[in-house]
Symmetry: C3
Subunit: 453 residues, 3 copies
């Protein structure tokens, strides 16, 4: 009988497929606009960032947590507002200032204004001997301290003598604030995309995340058909924001979440990295890895580990949510990470566009991934009498289409979902989903539990 040839047919994007090259340019432009804002866990720079993102996503719900409030094992910190910061040398010349780079001041520094000799200043200086041109990124959220970050080359040239330092900052009662964009679906099952906005003046980690998440939210909101799942896009300060959110909404997520992703480090042109959820085989993992396998891009598979970003909280054992993270070059693995070298030149419109494309394919795959069962499970249905044999296209295209139909009619038995059925044949989900729709219209497949086909 007919051979089971399985030539690789690229998934055909529908005519509505977004223009990800153009979107990549828009994302880079937005990152450029956000870059100079003095972000931290809290404060005006962080709030202004949320407002600018909201212009793109449409209205976001705000969740506020007051300074001093307990969220699990943590306490909401005060708000930090930085006005000015500088160091002047022994001869009074300005050595560095906040104006030059937000990274020059240690985040959450307490206010200080004094003169002190170099030996006493040194413990408050941070630099990287192995990267002498880079300003490191440092914070001291939960220990009262102050400090400055500077290139090691500059630090080594400091003459002895007395220095004048100023950090004009407020630490006041206020709120940690989260923004959540919700796109309601036709069912109560939920999908989460979580990103963070607390890193000042760095590009890949971390402006690429919120910029991509905002564009993804916009695309999902603008989708032609209402999604089956309810999509939540979460913009938080890292760690404390995710912990605060889970303290209020974690139990709901445990009941409803089917898949989630932490969006971070998504703008550089390096190979993709997928870090799996703690479960290792959750729907989030299966869908992301399916999309990566069929993307043509180079990618690496990483098992879950307990350091990293907010997946640490979502995947803590008390929640163990199906949340992974699709990145390009992972945090901690590229030399510019957490320094002033992680600037706008490190992220490219093309890379941002490619990653958004992949996240969009994940959304579409989640939506398409239903569980079908054959209505005529005993022997194969007569495809010819239904006019289902393809009559157009080349021989190999037609053979593939027949093989796909036969594959669906055999393996869709109400057990594995469409993704598992596609993976069993190492076929991309999209063309099988379209064929499954055709076969459902022909009455040869049906979805389980009355799911919309």
């Amino acid at each position: 009988m007919a051979t089971a040839a399985t030539p690789t047919v690229p998934a055909q994007p529908s005519s509505e497929w977004p223009d990800f090259f153009a979107l990549g340019e828009a994302m880079h432009a937005l990152a450029t606009e956000l870059f100079p804002l003095p972000r931290s866990l809290t404060g005006p720079g962080y709030r202004r960032t949320l407002e600018l993102l909201e212009e793109l996503t449409g209205p976001a719900e705000r969740h506020r947590f007051a300074t001093g409030e307990r969220v699990f094992d943590w306490t909401i910190p005060p708000e930090w507002t930085i006005h000015d910061a500088w160091i002047k040398g022994p001869d009074g010349e300005l050595l560095l200032s906040l104006e030059q780079s937000n990274l020059h001041v240690v985040g959450y520094s307490v206010p200080v204004h004094r003169r002190l000799p170099l030996e006493e200043l040194q413990p408050h200086l941070h630099s990287l001997p192995e990267q002498p041109e880079a300003i490191p990124y440092r914070t001291s959220y939960y220990r009262r301290d102050w400090g400055f970050c500077l290139p090691d080359a500059q630090r080594r040239g400091l003459p002895s003598g007395d220095y004048e330092v100023l950090i004009d900052a407020d630490l006041t009662s206020g709120h940690v604030e989260l923004a959540e964009v919700v796109v309601p679906g036709t069912t109560s099952a939920e999908v989460l995309f979580s990103t963070y906005c607390c890193h000042p003046s760095m590009a890949n980690n971390e402006l690429s995340g919120p910029v991509l998440a905002a564009h993804l939210a916009r695309l999902v909101r603008a989708r032609a058909q209402q999604p089956r799942f309810t999509y939540r896009f979460l913009f938080v300060p890292e760690t404390i924001g995710a912990i605060a959110y889970l303290s209020r909404f974690g139990e709901r997520l445990k009941r409803r979440l089917v898949a989630g992703y932490v969006i971070t480090c998504v703008g550089d042109p390096g190979a993709f990295t997928y870090k799996r959820s703690r479960r290792g085989d959750s729907l989030a993992d299966r869908v992301a890895e399916h999309c990566l396998r069929h993307s043509g891009h180079e990618w690496r598979d990483r098992e879950f580990f307990a350091t990293g970003s907010d997946e640490r909280q979502y995947c803590s054992p008390g929640f163990d949510l199906p949340v992974g993270s699709l990145m390009r070059s992972m945090y901690g693995t590229y030399p510019e990470y957490h320094t002033s070298l992680d600037d706008l030149s490190l992220i490219t419109p093309r890379a941002l566009g490619e990653t958004l494309d992949l996240y969009w394919r994940i959304v579409e795959a989640l939506e398409a991934n239903r569980t079908f069962e054959a209505t005529l499970p005993c022997c194969e249905p007569n495809l010819g009498s239904r006019g289902l044999y393809p009559t157009t296209g080349g021989a190999s295209h037609r053979a593939q289409r027949v093989a796909d139909m036969m594959h669906l009619l055999n393996f869709c038995d109400g057990g594995p979902d469409l993704l598992a059925v596609a993976d069993r044949a190492n076929r991309p989900l999209a063309p099988l989903a379209r064929l499954a729709e055709t076969l459902t219209q022909q009455g040869l497949l049906r979805t389980r539990d009355g799911e919309r086909a």
Copy 2:
């Protein structure tokens, strides 16, 4: 203590082992005799084929399904009898005729006799531009049509002008007919070998299948000891025959079948291919792959896929039977497939003999594969006091025999069957089965559920 050296000892065929070289010659002779018969789903050529096979197998039961009868999603087609077919050129010369090759006429062509210009004839011609010397094999079982198949080289040389075409055929009410040879066993559990006889004038696909199946049936019937399993050998027209059979007997197979194989493409000297059942780890799969692993032959393992031959029906999700297919070069993967080049030179006596040998080993392995348990499970039995230590043969032979006995006495615990016990040591089943018989006679092993040792 003694080392666990496991030298590879070839399985010793018993003295009754059939002469597969001689049987290979006999199979090729039978294929030569059957080659010119005008086979199709139905009709005199198909019936004559069954009769000739029955001379070898002994009496077969016939199952008949009348034209128009519904079998699952299908309708039994009319009978097709082809009397004559030819094309004459503009100058009246005979260009091709049924007499030259059964493949020249599209199977199930409706009768036609007319003159028509070349342009009108072309849509009824079928050829293979990439194999210009080959006549392709085409049928139109379920769509009323007529046509001729010819070498593309000949087609390209046809002058313009008026052609006279004749297809003298009948499409009449009748029956699809299946032949079933049954060798009863001592238990109600069953083994199925299924092959098909509807392909005209091709050798590997498909005369090798029925010819081998008939010889296998003869061997099983002639076996010295009555088998444990009931063996069914099924000769059908492909697809409609298997569907018809399952519509009548499928529920019985679901209750009783322990292993089955579709026999097709078994005569060429290419490497073996084993296509697994849909379950992927059925007894059929385990036994076939065990025999292949220990055969010394080159072979390929293929997971089940939903195109192919009649395993499509046996493994449809409503049945999901333990049916695989042991082939040489698989359908669709060799260039002569479904053309006139698949002729008697493509299959060899030696290849047919080797494949029959393997199918016979599968039968013997199924018969030998019982589940044993040690009667003295606490510590090893004293083999010396029972005179069980081998005293003849070389040191490595004796060490292997001791290792085999110890292996059986340790791993036969009433759980895994003998095949699993053998596979755990990567040892062929046959010598372990003989040792298990010895140990059973010594009272050290027993079969479960009173199975005959």
Copy 3:
């Protein structure tokens, strides 16, 4: 966030870590002392061996089984005492004698004193044509026979003529005797180390085993903290001793044993071999393979097979105990095995010390391997507020320590034991166990079932 770099940090032995180089010397000295004793299943040489080992281990319990007693399928043999044995040649010269080597006489030979021509002597001689300088090791425990073993080179030079042979031995009613050293733990769960003392005048197989087991017993007895498990060290004659022990204590072992090892072939400098228990994934297997993986030594993994040493009995299907065997060069795989070439030059102090070190690591790993669960499973605990972030050591050391803490707090959820948690990160158990203790003291982890932390 912080990278998940996982540099390999060698496990830090505590300050109490034994000096395994010195212990290696002591083990070799003890083997040298034991070497000349005429050991067999029974008799004075065997008893004297037990007494000398007991001087090291402290008091051992003796278990006695009388000649003629049934133990499962076996019968306790008589005691064998060998006084003298020799062969004199045709001219009266002494060709070989027991005094020269215990291996010259076949173990359990019946007494004999006669003159006989060379042709009649030959069936009583044993030699190895492929190793002409080696005296083979032979016994005849359960068949009454007598014989001599000698180098094949010597045998080939024997002139024809009459020989005088003497074997002055007693076979009398007596006992098979086992020695068991027990170190009680705080729980009823047990760990077994089993070795055998029946091989005369061979070094790797088998003096290395009892010598190492005795030193291990001494270390466990001298351990600063009482162990959680009760440790049993068993010194037996091979096969019959293990069978006898199991006939009396097997049911208790089935209830209580969590891990066990047969100690044999542990003194040569070859690569390590670990032969798994029949279950293949028992705690014994998991701990031994963990320790080997992190040892830096070369090693081989062997699945269980039913020949070998006393693991055959412990892993017989009626017991199926979690007993593996950690060896250097495995029995039967080195050319000196079971010959006079397996002498004291084959084992080295260094190799003995390394192996004892590994067995000691196994003990410590078993003791450390508790099951923890996080007390604050929802989101990560605030390590900073507890002063848990490391402030000393290099950056990569500190990063590893943080990663280890995060890993423990995430994966310790009351399910997997600490070993599984460590293996998931491919980290050695020891540093994670110390961190788990710290986190338990901090109230962030707790052991299940009130286990002592």
